[in-house]
Symmetry: C2
Subunit: 153 residues, 2 copies
Amino acid sequence: MKNEIKLFEDFLVQKELKYTSRREIILEIFLKTERHMSPDELYDLVKKKDSGIGFATVYRTLKLIKEAGLGREVDFGDGKKRFEHCFEHKHHDHLICIKCGKALEVADDRIEKLQEALVKRHKFNPVHHRLEIFGYCKDCDKKPPRQGGGQGG
Amino acid sequence: MKNEIKLFEDFLVQKELKYTSRREIILEIFLKTERHMSPDELYDLVKKKDSGIGFATVYRTLKLIKEAGLGREVDFGDGKKRFEHCFEHKHHDHLICIKCGKALEVADDRIEKLQEALVKRHKFNPVHHRLEIFGYCKDCDKKPPRQGGGQGG
DNA sequence: CTGACTGCAAACCCTTTGCACTAAA
DNA sequence: TTTAGTGCAAAGGGTTTGCAGTCAG
């Protein structure tokens, strides 16, 4: 993790920005938390270490972290931004439980390969992609909510 | 399309709701427009037919359309809701151009199959999923913006 | 008639921004 | 000292909701 922190510092220096203690706290907590966090969740965690930090700083720092390539934005369809760090994580897809909200990270090389072929067929130049599968995780699947037998697809 | 309109009417009747002319106008325009529309785009189109329709009605009707299974929500990461209709459309993925914003619909059975296997391996019970690939479409790829050679991964 | 539908505008939620003060370099 | 960083609160942008009038059944 030291590595990532150094990387962030270099990133800031290069952009003639400053490496402050608040940015460090936010980055550290962001990196060490293995969860897909919304800004307010990160804010709550960060407040425990430095109660003076404001919401705006969390947002602004998250933006910098993203620019530095240490985090990426994910979207779980709940109307908020969510972020995951790229520290010790390669590209992966998500299985998102619509009951408990947890997101499992999964990877499948064969799917990636087929995606590459797919974009090639369409002469599309990909920059990034995301695959998200929504449903019930194995814990929640034991008792899925049933109302009218609703069936999606 | 007549079929879908009938389906919507039945859906409303079954829920003891009313089939109104405004709902009909909104549904018709939604179905006949082959684009991924945000509520405000649909609102603009709908206003041309019935200038008295309000924003709220568009939102509320879109929600009903979704419930009726005639539309689904998609997310192109631009901070707004977007909808596509399910009329004469099977499941598909999206290639979204980050320059011009157009979304190409694509389908690949082998990817779908691998996804099924993937969730099975994780004992995950899928309800729906989405695959979105962001990048440059073949028209925009001729002159992609280059700044610092940014590389996502 | 009854109860759902509607437009309007205000409320909401999350995110961003302007300002005056603070802290890196 | 110089310039960026910061908290606060207000502003923004998109979406939802409460209300009183309207309309379908």
